[in-house]
């Protein structure tokens, strides 16, 4: 195999690539497509591919748990062990980060983790749709958490919640400098929470898309490299999907803890 041969082969395929270019858009699979238009009272609740895969994530998460716990026994089977381990894993996070007062948030945290996790993982199925690659979805979750945190802070601490923006032991003359920084960092929380998950999912899937397009556009002797890399990267994306769900859940716990206990 020499380079002239590769270049020659590429020269042959290049027009095809150009012809197929609109179809080979690596961002195409982020396109939300409405299947059913629904707009009762002028409010758009259309069923799109994004919505369908959200439902599927809910169904798969719930179905797997129900399957794992179809006949719970004192000596657990494999699936039951995994379900219990998941429970204890999240219970550990909530307990470590929030403490005993986090008990009432546990179902929500548990749901959040598995909702995000299965949205991430289902997106890896070829031809599927990655719900968490939609900024509006991660943004909705992040903003809801942010609003909940503000509500909890005000509910539990009243005006003292504003003390959240004043770090302890701060010399008074630094207040005009630090307080705006604290306010901005507080407001940045939902943005970073939403963008981190959305960007990770989008970047990973875009890269996978690009690699697959290389695979189909390159001739057989050049295709194995990007194709091999997609295999490796798909495995890596499974790991990323878990890590991002974990980070999202973990930060939610940290924010809830801040709202409940200030700092």
């Amino acid at each position: 195999m020499n380079f002239s041969l590769v270049a020659e082969a590429w020269a042959e395929t290049a027009p095809n690539v150009a012809a197929g270019a609109p179809k080979l858009d690596p961002l195409h699979h982020f396109q939300v497509v409405n299947y059913v238009k629904l707009a009762p009272f002028g409010f758009d609740i259309s069923i799109s591919n994004s919505v369908v895969w959200m439902w599927l994530a809910v169904a798969v998460a719930f179905g797997l748990f129900r399957y794992a716990l179809r006949a719970p026994t004192l000596v657990p089977g494999r699936m039951q062990s995994v379900a219990e381990a998941a429970y204890l894993f999240l219970d550990g996070i909530v307990n470590d980060v929030i403490g005993p007062s986090g008990k009432k948030f546990f179902p929500g945290i548990f749901t959040l983790f598995f909702f995000v996790l299965f949205c991430n993982w289902l997106g890896l199925i070829p031809g599927s749709f990655t719900v968490t690659s939609q900024l509006i979805v991660t943004g909705t979750l992040a903003l809801s958490i942010f609003v909940l945190c503000i509500f909890l802070g005000v509910y539990h601490h009243g005006w003292k919640f504003l003390g959240f923006f004043v770090p302890h032991g701060l010399p008074p003359f630094l207040l005009p400098l630090i307080v705006p920084i604290e306010v901005i960092s507080f407001l940045a929380r939902p943005v970073s929470l939403a963008v981190r998950l959305f960007a990770n999912m989008t970047a990973g899937h875009t890269l996978l898309g690009v690699l697959f397009f290389f695979t189909v556009t390159l001739s057989w002797f050049g295709a194995w490299l990007p194709f091999g890399f997609t295999v490796v990267f798909s495995g890596f994306e499974v790991f990323i999907g878990f890590i991002q769900a974990y980070i999202f859940t973990m930060l939610t716990c940290v924010y809830l803890n801040d709202a409940l206990h200030l700092h």
């Binding site: 590429w10 290049a14 690539v17 150009a18 012809a19 270019a21 609109p22 858009d25 961002l27 195409h28 982020f30 396109q31 939300v32 409405n34 629904l38 409010f43 758009d44 609740i45 259309s46 069923i47 799109s48 994004s50 919505v51 959200m54 439902w55 994530a57 809910v58 998460a61 719930f62 748990f65 129900r66 716990l69 719970p72 026994t73 004192l74 657990p76 039951q80 379900a83 219990e84 429970y87 204890l88 546990f106 179902p107 929500g108 548990f110 749901t111 959040l112 598995f114 909702f115 690659s133 939609q134 900024l135 509006i136 979805v137 909705t140 979750l141 809801s144 959305f198 989008t202």
Partner: protein
């Protein structure tokens, strides 16, 4: 080359000409916000009603089972310890009894030995005494017999002397001799 290809395709196609990520297409935001909330809360309700209680039940059951088992094991251990102490006591008592019995047996044996020895001694003494009596009797009997023989002999001698009509002197001498002989034989018998 690929950028060229895309650029040319972009100029032709309208899809690629659309700027930026599809995620920023705001026309689909409202429905996604709505369904994100709905999906999340449906999953929350389902998990809270059917999944979390099931896991909690089984975890609690296992925890209480383990606590029970530990308690039982502890009770068993205590019982075993009690039994062992009990057994130890019995063992000591048995050892003491055995030692006492051994001592008694030893004393018994010593007493019986002494008794046997004493009885033997008595028996021997009795036998010795009986033997002495018998010897004495035999001696007497023998003396009697000897005397009878001497008397008979004397009578024979006397008869013969009378027959030979010996004088008085001879007769005296002969009696004397006979008496001496008798004395000698008596001494020999002793």
């Amino acid at each position: 080359m690929i950028t060229e290809a895309y650029a040319s395709a972009g100029a032709a196609g309208k899809e690629a000409a659309a700027s930026g990520l599809p995620q920023f297409e705001s026309s689909v935001f409202a429905s996604q916000i709505f369904w994100t909330f709905v999906s999340f809360f449906i999953l929350l309700m389902l998990l809270r009603k059917y999944v979390l209680p099931a896991i909690e039940t089984i975890l609690d059951a296992r925890a209480s089972r383990i606590a029970d088992e530990l308690q039982k094991a502890e009770a068993g251990r205590k019982e075993a310890e009690r039994l062992q102490a009990n057994f130890q006591g019995q063992l000591v008592a048995a050892r003491q009894t055995a030692a006492k019995m051994m001592e008694e047996a030893r004393l018994d044996a010593a007493r019986m030995k002494e008794q046997a020895h004493e009885e033997l001694q008595q028996e021997l003494t009795k036998k010795k005494n009986a033997a002495l009596v018998e010897i004495e009797q035999a001696k007497h009997k023998a003396m009697e017999e000897v005397r009878n023989v001497v008397v008979e002999l004397s009578m024979h001698v006397a008869e013969k002397l009378i027959v030979k009509s010996m004088n008085t002197e001879d007769a005296n001498r002969m009696v004397q001799e006979a008496m001496t002989n008798l004395g000698e034989s008596q001494a020999r018998l002793h």
